[in-house]
């Protein structure tokens, strides 16, 4: 069901926001309530925003290569704040060899280049019910 509140965030120094903004707009058009973090967010800022805004899911867009360091830190911080029920998914330039590690660290899904925004909408509808 659409209508859920979602945070789309850009962790790290990566300024490539084309994908994040396209996903944010597509989710909004699909009926989600979307909050976009803006650029250059530390893991702590992302986790705090997720908790304060009481979101059901966090989408992390990252193309800089810092995913192995920043993404697990975000899931840990969410858990530490009692928000481990928040669904965390990611998108961007992420090598295949890192995907398994990220999933073990609590990233539920990783969307790679060429993904249709409708696939992300379907995924969220399925996971959030």
């Amino acid at each position: 069901m659409a209508g859920h509140r979602i945070l789309i965030a850009k962790p790290g120094l990566d300024g490539h926001d084309r994908g994040a903004k396209i996903v944010a707009r597509a989710l909004r058009d699909a009926g989600f309530e979307v909050i976009y973090s803006g650029l250059r967010q530390t893991p702590a800022q992302v986790a705090t925003a997720a908790v304060q805004e009481d979101v059901r899911a966090v989408g992390l867009s990252i193309l800089s290569g810092a995913h192995n360091v920043l993404l697990p830190e975000i899931t840990e911080l969410l858990a530490a704040q009692g928000a481990d029920d928040v669904l965390v998914f990611a998108g961007g330039i992420i090598p295949d060899r890192d995907i398994e590690t990220l999933k073990e660290a609590g990233i539920d899904a990783v969307f790679l280049p060429g993904t249709h925004t409708s696939d992300i909408v379907d995924y969220l509808n399925e996971r959030l019910g």
Binding site: I8, G12, L13, D14, G15, H16, D17, R18, A20, K21, I22, A24, R25, A26, R28, V34, Y36, S37, G38, L39, R40, T42, S64, G65, A66, H67, N68, V69, L70, I93, P95, D96, R97, L112, P113, G114, H116, T117, S118
Partner: protein, 579 residues
């Protein structure tokens, strides 16, 4: 050399004020023939419709099915097209085209530590590359040291880690800076990296005034518009840029102080026309700020250079490049009254379109890059970066970087396209598209002038919105299948083998931070404090910041320390998070 004594206008031409290539009788005959063609085409499509519905460019621009001479008869062969090496330079800035000098093959490279990148530079030079182009890692671009909280996970990932002059010395070790020109993709922290480059050249004993040449990207306006690597608010950022104009004009006359960039605007999703219009309008803004700072236009305008994207749509791109030269020459001469022909010339670097590459079936990217590179060459680029086939996955491996360079060498040495200057000049289609690019750009100029200028338009979010809308339109067309990407939304392979890519370990950060601390321990702490204080005082006043930054760099102050000094004075910029 100029075109002397253009023929007087005929009676018909006087009506429009423009000359024509064609005589009226021929046009009448062709016009009638065109009607016949239209009927024949319509009948053919009645029997069997076109095989697809969308025949627009990758930017969704409508293009004519056929162009006949009467449609382009009002394009003036002298005033609009002219001759290579002459105003308005539609056909190129050099009379000799690529026979006098081929374009510079300049592959953007940088990763890991300075030593890693130094090795890649030497590899590229030994393989026939003719200029250097440095990619810095994100912390250097944003003015943070490698041990800053914000640098976590980013060290050496998207480019080479440079914290102090000590790193820069290693980066160019064994590369004579008097013999090679270097382009540096650096914007907010450009003055710091320029100062470091000059310090290394000085250590090598190179005559800076006579021998040092290169380019800084230094285009801060497109950072707010598209690339988003800003630190300070727009106005103090513009002051840093004009400080560098003045400094370089006096001390490093062969240095291009800015490379006004459409590349990132396009990568962020703009159309070809928006890329052209916003980039050239940024150029106008820099010239205006230079004039407002008291500089003479012909003192700094000859050192302005441009940087464009070359995307998949072949003729649209070629038209864009030709139009860029014509528009810039017109603006510089007519809007700014520049007298030196070098001020009129739009010199540009081109990079093939990273956003056109696909992670799926990545070898197909070699083909895309070849088409894009060919468009850039037919458009008359001065230098070129061809993307490696794996660049949508990671920074390129050595082998893939070599194939990218070889692509340029094949174009230059085997394809024959370099033999004739502006080989598509006079093509009905290319001249028509060039005209549309010119007209569309002047329309955008009027809109931006209405905001009061580009800084004001950016503050109002206008170019950002235009680009975002275009990006979203393309995504929708792609998802509906109206726009195809081979291997992604059609011609898909079910079982693709993963590709080996360059992997940069997170362990590298510790090594880099260790070296930074060593440098901090060895330097003269008094000199660090003194030079940083002087920079703060100078930037709070109206002193030129550039010589002060040179002093900081020579005292081995770090990128982070110098940027913090400027942050203290200028403040930091944050954009509103809208989508």
């Amino acid at each position: 050399m100029t075109i002397k004594d253009p023929p007087t206008l005929t009676e018909d031409e006087k009506e429009t004020g423009r000359r024509s290539f064609y005589n009226d009788e021929s046009l009448v005959v062709l016009s009638a023939a065109r009607e016949g063609w239209e009927t024949a085409t319509r009948e053919a499509f009645d029997k069997r419709p076109p095989w697809k519905t969308d025949f627009t460019t990758v930017s969704s621009m409508e293009v004519p099915h056929l162009v006949t001479p009467e449609q382009v008869a009002d394009i003036d062969p002298i005033a609009d097209i002219g001759i290579p090496g002459e105003f308005p330079y539609t056909r190129g800035i050099h009379p000799s085209g690529y026979r006098g000098k081929s374009w510079t093959m300049r592959q953007f490279a940088g990763f890991g530590t300075a030593a890693d990148t130094n090795e890649r530079f030497k590899y590229l030079l030994s393989n026939g590359q003719t200029g250097l182009s440095v990619a810095f890692h994100l912390p250097t671009l944003y003015g943070y040291d490698s041990d800053h909280e914000m640098s976590k996970g980013e060290v050496g990932k998207c480019g080479v880690a440079i914290d102090t002059l000590a790193d820069m010395e290693i980066l160019f070790a064994g590369i004579p800076l008097g013999d090679v020109t270097t382009s540096m993709t650096i914007n907010s922290t450009a003055p710091i990296l320029l100062a470091m480059y000059l310090a290394v050249a000085e250590q090598q004993g190179v005559d800076i005034r006579r021998q040092v040449g290169g380019t800084l990207q230094n285009d801060i306006l497109k950072e707010y518009i598209a690339q988003k690597e800003y630190i300070f608010p727009p106005r103090p950022s513009m002051r840093l840029v004009t400080d560098q104009f003045a400094f370089a004009a006096e001390h490093v006359p062969r240095w291009n102080t800015i490379s006004i960039s459409g590349y990132h605007i396009r990568e962020a999703g703009s159309t070809a026309l928006q890329e052209l219009a916003f980039t050239l309008r940024d150029g106008i803004e820099y010239v205006q700020y230079g004039l407002d700072a008291g500089l003479d236009v012909d003192d700094f305008a000859p050192r302005l250079s441009f940087f464009f994207n070359s995307h998949n749509d072949f003729f649209e791109e070629i038209a864009k490049f030709r139009a860029a030269r014509k528009i810039w020459a017109t603006v510089m001469r007519e809007r700014f009254g520049a007298k030196d022909p070098r001020s009129w010339m739009c010199r540009f670097h081109t990079q093939t379109a990273g956003c056109s590459l696909t992670a799926q079936q990545p070898y197909n990217n070699v083909v895309r890059t070849t088409v894009q590179a060919l468009a850039a060459v037919l458009g008359g680029t001065q230098s070129l970066h061809t993307n490696a086939l794996d660049e949508t996955l990671a920074l390129p491996t050595e082998e893939n970087a070599r194939i990218a360079l070889r692509t340029q060498q094949i174009l230059a040495h085997e394809s024959g396209v370099i033999n004739t200057v502006d080989p598509l000049g006079g093509s009905y289609l290319v001249e028509e598209l060039t005209r549309r690019m010119v007209d569309g750009t002047f329309d955008y100029f009027r809109k931006i002038d209405d905001y009061g200028g580009m800084v004001e338009a950016i503050e109002a979010g206008y170019p950002q919105r235009e680009i975002m809308d275009a990006a979203f339109q393309f995504q929708r067309a792609f998802e509906r299948g109206v726009k195809k990407m081979v291997g992604v939304n059609d011609f898909v392979l079910e079982d693709e083998l993963p590709m080996e890519t360059l992997y940069i370990s997170d362990d590298l950060a510790a090594e880099q931070v260790g070296f930074l601390n060593e440098t901090r321990d060895k330097r003269d702490a008094g000199a660090v404090e003194r030079t940083l204080d002087a920079l703060k005082r100078g930037s709070a006043g109206d002193e030129n910041t550039m010589p002060l930054i040179v002093d900081c760099v020579k005292a081995y102050c770090s990128v982070g320390e110098i940027s913090d000094a400027l942050r203290d004075v200028f403040g930091a910029y944050e954009e509103p998070a809208v989508f």
